[in-house]
Symmetry: C2
Amino acid sequence: MLSRTYEGQVCSVARTLELIGERWTVLILREVFRGNRRFDQMQGALGIARNVLTARLEHLQEAGILERRRYQERPARYEYMLTEKGIDLWPVLMQMLIWGDKHLAEGGPPVYVEHRDCGGQPDEHLICDRCGEPLHARNVTRRPGPGLKAVA
Amino acid sequence: MLSRTYEGQVCSVARTLELIGERWTVLILREVFRGNRRFDQMQGALGIARNVLTARLEHLQEAGILERRRYQERPARYEYMLTEKGIDLWPVLMQMLIWGDKHLAEGGPPVYVEHRDCGGQPDEHLICDRCGEPLHARNVTRRPGPGLKAVA
């Protein structure tokens, strides 16, 4: 198994990677930001092996990024919520989205992220390009973009 | 070898991860942003196997994120420069840095990133917290922070 740590790196980027740098982890967080909080929703959306998803969810809980909450008693079923520490990762994911939209989305963005209040979009500083309000995880919404339709 | 791709994911975040999600890649980019553009500088700073570094640099060139430039003739020696596409990754790395500084740096930030003109620091929107100017890869500088001294 590959090591998750970067020995000798006294660096906040390296430490962040140690928590979110494993394969699939960022996409799992993307699903939770989207509201797909349940194991089966995530597994269906990502198409990954259940044992891999289980391991990643455990790491994210150990790291204090996700919290598990039971939503059904018999059989016991859990959903995964972002902690405040987890919600703080939104700008990391958004900057990856913006970069991918700019450089890797020939058919246009697969998803538009929009300011819930006015429909504006995040600029490169995650400020609404229409009304100037700072955007964060809780004041945006999503709708399908042309890049998704091109595939469908 | 682990796959680098996320099959079936029509998503700009997933596509970005396919290019920068491999182990070490983000730290290699960090070195280039720092000005450590030469193979031996990177290898020394990261302490990784030379064949791994070679493979990652090749991927980054194929992806159009780095460009190789010869700086010495005999023997031939190369340095790696960020393309514009590569420079556009600065906000991704900065958001990882900000998150790590906030959540994983008990002894304080290992590095302070500062606005070259006024010495202010990036806020969560990568705006200078002193003068309000938007920050980018070319108008910031770095100095050691308390987290680095604590280790040294």
